[in-house]
Protein backbone atom coordinates (compact mmCIF):
# COMPACT_ATOMS: atom_id res chain seq x y z
CA UNK A 1 0.00 0.00 0.00
CA UNK A 2 2.70 2.48 1.04
CA UNK A 3 4.76 1.17 -1.87
CA UNK A 4 1.92 2.11 -4.19
CA UNK A 5 1.73 5.62 -2.72
CA UNK A 6 5.49 5.93 -3.11
CA UNK A 7 5.29 4.79 -6.73
CA UNK A 8 2.50 7.28 -7.47
CA UNK A 9 4.50 10.09 -5.96
CA UNK A 10 7.59 9.08 -7.91
CA UNK A 11 5.54 9.01 -11.12
CA UNK A 12 4.12 12.46 -10.41
CA UNK A 13 7.58 13.84 -9.69
CA UNK A 14 8.81 12.28 -12.92
CA UNK A 15 5.99 13.93 -14.86
CA UNK A 16 6.74 17.24 -13.19
CA UNK A 17 10.38 17.20 -14.18
CA UNK A 18 9.46 16.03 -17.69
CA UNK A 19 7.04 18.97 -18.12
CA UNK A 20 9.65 21.45 -16.90
CA UNK A 21 12.40 20.05 -19.11
CA UNK A 22 10.33 19.74 -22.29
CA UNK A 23 8.27 22.90 -21.73
CA UNK A 24 9.36 24.46 -25.03
CA UNK A 25 8.66 21.39 -27.21
CA UNK A 26 5.28 20.73 -25.61
CA UNK A 27 4.25 24.35 -26.07
CA UNK A 28 5.31 24.24 -29.73
CA UNK A 29 3.26 21.11 -30.34
CA UNK A 30 0.18 22.41 -28.54
CA UNK A 31 0.30 25.70 -30.38
CA UNK A 32 -0.50 23.67 -33.52
CA UNK A 33 -3.43 21.88 -31.88
CA UNK A 34 -6.86 23.19 -32.93
CA UNK A 35 -7.75 24.49 -29.46
CA UNK A 36 -4.86 26.97 -29.23
CA UNK A 37 -4.45 27.59 -32.96
CA UNK A 38 -8.04 28.71 -33.43
CA UNK A 39 -8.27 30.81 -30.26
CA UNK A 40 -4.98 32.68 -30.71
CA UNK A 41 -5.31 33.55 -34.35
CA UNK A 42 -3.29 36.75 -34.26
CA UNK A 43 0.16 35.42 -33.52
CA UNK A 44 1.76 32.08 -32.96
CA UNK A 45 3.95 33.57 -30.22
CA UNK A 46 0.83 34.34 -28.24
CA UNK A 47 -0.39 30.77 -28.62
CA UNK A 48 3.00 29.40 -27.52
CA UNK A 49 3.00 31.68 -24.46
CA UNK A 50 -0.50 30.53 -23.51
CA UNK A 51 0.60 26.90 -23.93
CA UNK A 52 3.61 27.48 -21.67
CA UNK A 53 1.38 28.89 -18.95
CA UNK A 54 -0.70 25.70 -19.07
CA UNK A 55 2.42 23.48 -19.04
CA UNK A 56 3.73 25.38 -15.98
CA UNK A 57 0.43 24.98 -14.17
CA UNK A 58 0.37 21.25 -14.93
CA UNK A 59 3.95 20.89 -13.69
CA UNK A 60 2.94 22.56 -10.42
CA UNK A 61 -0.05 20.27 -10.04
CA UNK A 62 2.21 17.26 -10.67
CA UNK A 63 4.66 18.61 -8.10
CA UNK A 64 1.90 18.50 -5.48
CA UNK A 65 1.78 14.73 -6.11
CA UNK A 66 -1.95 14.65 -6.85
CA UNK A 67 -2.48 14.76 -10.63
CA UNK A 68 -6.15 13.83 -10.16
CA UNK A 69 -6.91 16.91 -8.04
CA UNK A 70 -9.00 19.30 -10.16
CA UNK A 71 -9.21 21.68 -7.19
CA UNK A 72 -5.40 22.01 -7.04
CA UNK A 73 -4.41 25.65 -6.42
CA UNK A 74 -1.97 25.46 -9.34
CA UNK A 75 -4.89 25.23 -11.78
CA UNK A 76 -5.99 28.61 -10.44
CA UNK A 77 -3.26 30.41 -12.38
CA UNK A 78 -4.64 29.25 -15.73
CA UNK A 79 -8.33 28.95 -14.88
CA UNK A 80 -9.11 32.40 -16.27
CA UNK A 81 -7.21 31.79 -19.45
CA UNK A 82 -8.80 28.37 -19.96
CA UNK A 83 -12.24 29.85 -19.30
CA UNK A 84 -11.70 32.55 -21.90
CA UNK A 85 -10.50 29.97 -24.42
CA UNK A 86 -13.52 27.74 -23.83
CA UNK A 87 -15.84 30.74 -24.07
CA UNK A 88 -14.25 31.76 -27.36
CA UNK A 89 -14.81 28.24 -28.75
CA UNK A 90 -18.40 28.29 -27.50
CA UNK A 91 -18.98 31.60 -29.25
CA UNK A 92 -17.65 30.06 -32.43
CA UNK A 93 -20.51 27.57 -32.18
CA UNK A 94 -18.75 24.60 -30.59
CA UNK A 95 -20.72 22.36 -28.22
CA UNK A 96 -19.31 21.50 -24.77
CA UNK A 97 -18.62 17.97 -26.05
CA UNK A 98 -16.60 19.32 -28.98
CA UNK A 99 -14.60 21.64 -26.72
CA UNK A 100 -13.94 18.74 -24.39
CA UNK A 101 -12.66 16.73 -27.38
CA UNK A 102 -10.28 19.54 -28.29
CA UNK A 103 -8.82 19.57 -24.79
CA UNK A 104 -8.53 15.77 -24.91
CA UNK A 105 -6.58 16.07 -28.17
CA UNK A 106 -3.77 17.83 -26.27
CA UNK A 107 -2.90 14.57 -24.53
CA UNK A 108 -1.50 12.57 -27.45
CA UNK A 109 1.40 14.88 -28.40
CA UNK A 110 2.66 15.22 -24.84
CA UNK A 111 2.31 11.50 -24.04
CA UNK A 112 4.25 10.75 -27.22
CA UNK A 113 7.05 13.04 -26.05
CA UNK A 114 7.19 11.34 -22.66
CA UNK A 115 7.27 7.85 -24.24
CA UNK A 116 10.14 9.01 -26.43
CA UNK A 117 12.23 9.59 -23.33
CA UNK A 118 12.38 5.87 -22.64
CA UNK A 119 14.27 3.40 -24.75
CA UNK A 120 11.90 0.70 -23.59
CA UNK A 121 8.45 2.18 -23.13
CA UNK A 122 7.14 -1.06 -21.59
CA UNK A 123 9.29 -0.68 -18.48
CA UNK A 124 7.42 0.03 -15.25
CA UNK A 125 8.58 3.64 -14.68
CA UNK A 126 7.58 4.54 -18.25
CA UNK A 127 4.11 3.08 -17.79
CA UNK A 128 3.61 4.75 -14.44
CA UNK A 129 4.76 8.09 -15.86
CA UNK A 130 2.39 7.83 -18.82
CA UNK A 131 -0.43 6.89 -16.50
CA UNK A 132 0.23 9.89 -14.20
CA UNK A 133 0.44 12.20 -17.22
CA UNK A 134 -2.81 10.80 -18.61
CA UNK A 135 -4.57 11.39 -15.29
CA UNK A 136 -3.14 14.91 -15.19
CA UNK A 137 -4.43 15.67 -18.69
CA UNK A 138 -7.83 14.28 -17.69
CA UNK A 139 -7.89 16.75 -14.79
CA UNK A 140 -7.08 19.57 -17.18
CA UNK A 141 -10.04 18.56 -19.32
CA UNK A 142 -12.36 18.59 -16.31
CA UNK A 143 -11.06 21.97 -15.17
CA UNK A 144 -11.75 23.47 -18.60
CA UNK A 145 -15.27 22.03 -18.70
CA UNK A 146 -16.02 23.14 -15.15
CA UNK A 147 -14.80 26.65 -15.90
CA UNK A 148 -16.79 26.80 -19.13
CA UNK A 149 -19.98 25.60 -17.48
CA UNK A 150 -19.81 27.96 -14.52
CA UNK A 151 -19.12 30.83 -16.92
CA UNK A 152 -22.28 29.82 -18.78
CA UNK A 153 -24.34 29.72 -15.59
CA UNK A 154 -23.07 33.13 -14.54
CA UNK A 155 -23.96 34.53 -17.94
CA UNK A 156 -27.47 33.12 -17.78
CA UNK A 157 -28.01 34.47 -14.27
CA UNK A 158 -26.74 37.90 -15.31
CA UNK A 159 -28.92 37.94 -18.42
CA UNK A 160 -31.95 36.89 -16.42
CA UNK A 161 -31.36 39.78 -14.02
CA UNK A 162 -30.90 42.23 -16.86
CA UNK A 163 -34.06 40.95 -18.47
CA UNK A 164 -35.96 41.49 -15.24
CA UNK A 165 -34.93 45.11 -15.18
CA UNK A 166 -35.34 45.76 -18.87
CA UNK A 167 -38.76 44.16 -18.86
CA UNK A 168 -40.13 46.38 -16.10
CA UNK A 169 -39.66 49.99 -17.06
CA UNK A 170 -41.68 52.50 -15.11
CA UNK A 171 -42.85 55.20 -17.48
CA UNK A 172 -43.95 58.68 -16.54
CA UNK A 173 -47.12 59.26 -18.56
CA UNK A 174 -48.04 62.66 -17.15
CA UNK A 175 -47.22 64.88 -14.24
CA UNK A 176 -48.05 62.67 -11.25
CA UNK A 177 -48.98 59.60 -13.31
CA UNK A 178 -46.64 56.62 -13.75
CA UNK A 179 -47.26 53.32 -15.54
CA UNK A 180 -45.64 49.86 -15.74
CA UNK A 181 -46.49 47.81 -18.81
CA UNK A 182 -45.98 44.25 -17.56
CA UNK A 183 -44.85 41.71 -20.11
CA UNK A 184 -44.36 38.00 -19.56
CA UNK A 185 -44.64 35.73 -16.57
CA UNK A 186 -45.19 37.50 -13.28
CA UNK A 187 -43.37 35.16 -10.92
CA UNK A 188 -42.27 36.06 -7.42
CA UNK A 189 -38.86 37.45 -8.43
CA UNK A 190 -40.39 39.51 -11.21
CA UNK A 191 -43.15 40.98 -9.08
CA UNK A 192 -40.63 41.89 -6.39
CA UNK A 193 -38.71 43.93 -8.97
CA UNK A 194 -41.93 45.47 -10.27
CA UNK A 195 -43.05 46.48 -6.81
CA UNK A 196 -39.69 48.01 -5.93
CA UNK A 197 -39.31 50.02 -9.12
CA UNK A 198 -42.91 51.18 -8.99
CA UNK A 199 -42.65 52.37 -5.39
CA UNK A 200 -39.38 54.15 -6.18
CA UNK A 201 -40.97 55.86 -9.16
CA UNK A 202 -43.98 56.91 -7.09
CA UNK A 203 -41.65 58.66 -4.65
CA UNK A 204 -39.33 60.12 -7.29
CA UNK A 205 -42.16 61.41 -9.50
CA UNK A 206 -44.44 62.36 -6.60
CA UNK A 207 -47.00 60.28 -8.45
CA UNK A 208 -50.60 60.16 -7.27
CA UNK A 209 -51.59 57.55 -9.83
CA UNK A 210 -49.84 54.35 -10.80
CA UNK A 211 -51.07 52.23 -13.69
CA UNK A 212 -50.24 48.52 -13.86
CA UNK A 213 -50.93 47.33 -17.38
CA UNK A 214 -51.15 43.53 -17.67
CA UNK A 215 -51.94 43.29 -21.39
CA UNK A 216 -48.69 41.35 -21.85
CA UNK A 217 -49.18 38.92 -18.97
CA UNK A 218 -50.28 35.57 -20.44
CA UNK A 219 -51.62 33.89 -17.28
CA UNK A 220 -53.23 35.35 -14.17
CA UNK A 221 -53.50 32.65 -11.54
CA UNK A 222 -53.95 33.04 -7.80
CA UNK A 223 -50.26 33.81 -7.21
CA UNK A 224 -50.11 36.49 -9.91
CA UNK A 225 -53.34 37.98 -8.55
CA UNK A 226 -51.88 37.99 -5.08
CA UNK A 227 -48.77 39.79 -6.33
CA UNK A 228 -50.95 42.37 -8.06
CA UNK A 229 -53.00 42.95 -4.92
CA UNK A 230 -49.88 43.34 -2.79
CA UNK A 231 -48.40 45.85 -5.24
CA UNK A 232 -51.65 47.83 -5.25
CA UNK A 233 -51.71 47.82 -1.45
CA UNK A 234 -48.11 48.98 -1.21
CA UNK A 235 -48.71 51.79 -3.71
CA UNK A 236 -51.69 52.89 -1.61
CA UNK A 237 -49.48 53.08 1.45
CA UNK A 238 -47.21 55.40 -0.51
CA UNK A 239 -50.19 57.63 -1.19
CA UNK A 240 -50.76 56.65 -4.81
CA UNK A 241 -53.89 55.18 -6.29
CA UNK A 242 -53.30 52.10 -8.45
CA UNK A 243 -55.22 51.27 -11.58
CA UNK A 244 -54.88 47.83 -13.21
CA UNK A 245 -55.49 47.90 -16.94
CA UNK A 246 -55.34 45.43 -19.79
CA UNK A 247 -57.32 42.54 -18.32
CA UNK A 248 -58.27 40.63 -21.47
CA UNK A 249 -61.72 38.99 -21.76
CA UNK A 250 -60.41 35.42 -21.48
CA UNK A 251 -58.47 36.38 -18.36
CA UNK A 252 -61.44 38.19 -16.83
CA UNK A 253 -63.59 35.07 -17.19
CA UNK A 254 -60.87 32.88 -15.75
CA UNK A 255 -60.29 35.15 -12.75
CA UNK A 256 -64.00 35.06 -11.91
CA UNK A 257 -64.13 31.24 -12.03
CA UNK A 258 -60.97 30.98 -10.02
CA UNK A 259 -62.79 32.96 -7.33
CA UNK A 260 -60.39 35.87 -7.10
CA UNK A 261 -62.03 39.04 -5.88
CA UNK A 262 -60.47 42.07 -7.51
CA UNK A 263 -63.42 44.14 -6.31
CA UNK A 264 -61.24 46.45 -4.22
CA UNK A 265 -58.95 47.17 -7.16
CA UNK A 266 -59.65 49.89 -9.65
CA UNK A 267 -59.56 48.41 -13.15
CA UNK A 268 -59.87 49.82 -16.64
CA UNK A 269 -60.01 48.01 -19.97
CA UNK A 270 -56.94 49.56 -21.57
CA UNK A 271 -53.95 51.69 -20.70
CA UNK A 272 -55.55 54.69 -22.44
CA UNK A 273 -58.73 54.34 -20.34
CA UNK A 274 -56.66 54.18 -17.18
CA UNK A 275 -54.76 57.31 -18.18
CA UNK A 276 -58.00 59.13 -19.05
CA UNK A 277 -59.37 58.21 -15.62
CA UNK A 278 -56.26 59.45 -13.81
CA UNK A 279 -56.24 62.69 -15.79
CA UNK A 280 -59.92 63.28 -15.11
CA UNK A 281 -59.31 62.76 -11.40
CA UNK A 282 -56.73 65.52 -11.55
CA UNK A 283 -59.24 67.80 -13.17
CA UNK A 284 -57.71 67.57 -16.60
CA UNK A 285 -60.35 67.37 -19.23
CA UNK A 286 -59.59 64.82 -21.92
CA UNK A 287 -60.67 65.42 -25.46
CA UNK A 288 -59.84 63.06 -28.28
CA UNK A 289 -57.24 65.55 -29.47
CA UNK A 290 -55.57 65.67 -26.09
CA UNK A 291 -55.43 61.88 -25.75
CA UNK A 292 -53.71 61.53 -29.09
CA UNK A 293 -50.98 63.87 -27.88
CA UNK A 294 -50.69 62.13 -24.55
CA UNK A 295 -50.04 58.76 -26.11
CA UNK A 296 -47.16 60.04 -28.18
CA UNK A 297 -45.39 61.61 -25.24
Amino acid sequence: MTDQVGANEAAAAQVCSFLQRRREQIAQRWADASLFRTVFTLSREEAVEACKAVVDALADVALSGRPEDIAAPAFGTVRDQLGRMAASRARAGFTPAQISEEVAALRAPVVELLRGEFTDSSEATAQEGVLALTVLMGSLRLVVMETALSAGEELIARQRLQLLEVATPVIKLWEGIVAVPLIGTLDSARSQVVMESLLEAIVAQRAQYAILDITGVPTVDSLVAQHLMKTVAAARLMGAECIVSGIRPAIAQTIVHLGIDLGTILTRAGLADALAYALAQQGIEVSAHRMARASTR
Binding site: D221, S222, Q226, T254, H257, L258, G259, I260
Partner: protein, 148 residues
Protein backbone atom coordinates in the same frame (compact mmCIF):
# COMPACT_ATOMS: atom_id res chain seq x y z
CA UNK B 1 -60.75 24.98 -40.45
CA UNK B 2 -57.25 24.80 -38.95
CA UNK B 3 -55.86 21.29 -39.04
CA UNK B 4 -55.55 20.09 -35.44
CA UNK B 5 -51.93 19.27 -34.68
CA UNK B 6 -50.97 15.87 -33.40
CA UNK B 7 -51.01 15.89 -29.62
CA UNK B 8 -49.34 12.93 -27.97
CA UNK B 9 -49.10 11.90 -24.34
CA UNK B 10 -46.14 13.46 -22.55
CA UNK B 11 -44.66 13.86 -19.11
CA UNK B 12 -43.27 17.15 -17.79
CA UNK B 13 -41.10 17.32 -14.66
CA UNK B 14 -42.10 19.82 -11.97
CA UNK B 15 -39.09 20.76 -9.85
CA UNK B 16 -38.59 24.49 -10.12
CA UNK B 17 -40.21 27.81 -11.01
CA UNK B 18 -38.95 27.50 -14.57
CA UNK B 19 -40.68 24.14 -14.83
CA UNK B 20 -43.99 25.87 -14.02
CA UNK B 21 -43.55 28.13 -17.04
CA UNK B 22 -42.76 25.04 -19.10
CA UNK B 23 -45.91 23.29 -17.85
CA UNK B 24 -48.05 26.26 -18.92
CA UNK B 25 -46.30 26.34 -22.27
CA UNK B 26 -46.93 22.63 -22.90
CA UNK B 27 -50.60 22.86 -21.91
CA UNK B 28 -51.07 25.91 -24.11
CA UNK B 29 -49.53 24.11 -27.08
CA UNK B 30 -51.60 20.96 -26.58
CA UNK B 31 -54.87 22.83 -26.00
CA UNK B 32 -54.33 25.08 -29.00
CA UNK B 33 -53.35 22.09 -31.11
CA UNK B 34 -56.60 20.32 -30.22
CA UNK B 35 -58.69 23.34 -31.15
CA UNK B 36 -59.59 24.73 -27.69
CA UNK B 37 -60.93 28.30 -27.89
CA UNK B 38 -58.90 31.10 -26.32
CA UNK B 39 -61.11 31.19 -23.22
CA UNK B 40 -60.98 27.40 -22.86
CA UNK B 41 -57.21 27.46 -23.26
CA UNK B 42 -56.81 30.20 -20.68
CA UNK B 43 -58.96 28.36 -18.14
CA UNK B 44 -57.08 25.09 -18.56
CA UNK B 45 -53.67 26.76 -18.45
CA UNK B 46 -54.61 28.64 -15.29
CA UNK B 47 -55.89 25.47 -13.60
CA UNK B 48 -52.67 23.69 -14.62
CA UNK B 49 -50.61 26.58 -13.24
CA UNK B 50 -52.37 26.29 -9.85
CA UNK B 51 -52.02 22.51 -9.60
CA UNK B 52 -48.42 22.46 -10.82
CA UNK B 53 -47.51 25.05 -8.19
CA UNK B 54 -49.19 22.93 -5.51
CA UNK B 55 -47.18 19.93 -6.72
CA UNK B 56 -44.01 22.00 -6.43
CA UNK B 57 -44.69 23.90 -3.19
CA UNK B 58 -46.85 21.57 -1.11
CA UNK B 59 -45.87 18.24 -2.70
CA UNK B 60 -42.13 18.95 -2.91
CA UNK B 61 -42.03 18.43 -6.68
CA UNK B 62 -43.26 15.76 -9.06
CA UNK B 63 -44.51 15.71 -12.62
CA UNK B 64 -47.43 16.43 -14.91
CA UNK B 65 -48.79 13.86 -17.33
CA UNK B 66 -50.63 15.21 -20.32
CA UNK B 67 -52.91 12.92 -22.37
CA UNK B 68 -55.34 13.62 -25.17
CA UNK B 69 -58.77 12.37 -24.18
CA UNK B 70 -61.45 12.74 -26.86
CA UNK B 71 -65.13 12.23 -26.06
CA UNK B 72 -67.20 11.55 -29.12
CA UNK B 73 -66.25 14.23 -31.58
CA UNK B 74 -65.07 16.66 -28.90
CA UNK B 75 -61.31 16.80 -28.41
CA UNK B 76 -60.25 16.73 -24.78
CA UNK B 77 -57.18 16.98 -22.64
CA UNK B 78 -56.45 15.19 -19.38
CA UNK B 79 -53.75 16.47 -17.05
CA UNK B 80 -52.44 14.61 -14.00
CA UNK B 81 -50.29 16.29 -11.37
CA UNK B 82 -48.41 13.72 -9.38
CA UNK B 83 -46.22 14.09 -6.30
CA UNK B 84 -45.08 11.79 -3.51
CA UNK B 85 -45.13 14.48 -0.86
CA UNK B 86 -46.95 14.67 2.50
CA UNK B 87 -50.44 14.22 1.03
CA UNK B 88 -53.54 16.07 2.26
CA UNK B 89 -54.99 15.07 5.64
CA UNK B 90 -58.21 17.02 5.45
CA UNK B 91 -59.42 17.08 1.85
CA UNK B 92 -62.66 18.90 2.60
CA UNK B 93 -60.76 21.71 4.28
CA UNK B 94 -58.15 21.91 1.50
CA UNK B 95 -60.91 22.13 -1.11
CA UNK B 96 -62.62 25.00 0.68
CA UNK B 97 -62.31 28.47 -0.85
CA UNK B 98 -59.77 30.49 1.04
CA UNK B 99 -58.14 27.70 3.03
CA UNK B 100 -54.37 27.81 2.87
CA UNK B 101 -51.73 26.20 5.04
CA UNK B 102 -49.24 28.78 3.82
CA UNK B 103 -49.49 32.38 2.73
CA UNK B 104 -51.57 31.76 -0.39
CA UNK B 105 -55.07 32.87 -1.28
CA UNK B 106 -56.29 29.31 -0.82
CA UNK B 107 -57.98 29.34 -4.21
CA UNK B 108 -55.74 26.91 -6.09
CA UNK B 109 -57.62 23.65 -5.59
CA UNK B 110 -61.16 25.00 -5.45
CA UNK B 111 -60.53 27.45 -8.28
CA UNK B 112 -58.96 24.82 -10.54
CA UNK B 113 -62.00 22.61 -9.98
CA UNK B 114 -64.29 25.39 -11.22
CA UNK B 115 -62.17 25.93 -14.32
CA UNK B 116 -62.45 22.40 -15.73
CA UNK B 117 -65.09 19.77 -16.49
CA UNK B 118 -63.71 16.94 -14.36
CA UNK B 119 -61.64 17.13 -11.22
CA UNK B 120 -60.27 14.16 -9.29
CA UNK B 121 -58.22 14.42 -6.11
CA UNK B 122 -56.45 11.29 -4.95
CA UNK B 123 -54.32 11.68 -1.86
CA UNK B 124 -52.91 9.60 0.94
CA UNK B 125 -51.24 11.18 3.97
CA UNK B 126 -47.54 10.42 3.89
CA UNK B 127 -47.72 8.91 0.39
CA UNK B 128 -48.47 11.75 -1.98
CA UNK B 129 -51.13 13.48 -4.02
CA UNK B 130 -52.43 13.09 -7.56
CA UNK B 131 -54.84 15.61 -9.01
CA UNK B 132 -56.35 14.80 -12.40
CA UNK B 133 -58.33 17.32 -14.40
CA UNK B 134 -60.03 16.97 -17.77
CA UNK B 135 -61.50 19.55 -20.09
CA UNK B 136 -63.24 19.10 -23.42
CA UNK B 137 -63.27 21.65 -26.16
CA UNK B 138 -66.69 22.69 -27.27
CA UNK B 139 -65.96 22.97 -30.94
CA UNK B 140 -68.44 25.20 -32.68
CA UNK B 141 -69.44 23.30 -35.84
CA UNK B 142 -68.31 25.23 -38.84
CA UNK B 143 -71.26 26.61 -40.76
CA UNK B 144 -72.08 24.46 -43.75
CA UNK B 145 -73.13 26.32 -46.87
CA UNK B 146 -75.95 23.85 -47.49
CA UNK B 147 -77.28 22.08 -44.42
CA UNK B 148 -79.09 18.87 -45.27
Amino acid sequence: MPASRDVTAARVAIGSDTDLAWVRQQVRQAAAGLGFSLVQQTKLITAASELARNTLIHGGGGYMEITPCPQGTAPGLRLSFVDSGPGIRNVEQAMADGYTSGGGLGLGLSGAKRLVHEFLLDTCPGRGTTVTITAWATVVPSARPEAT
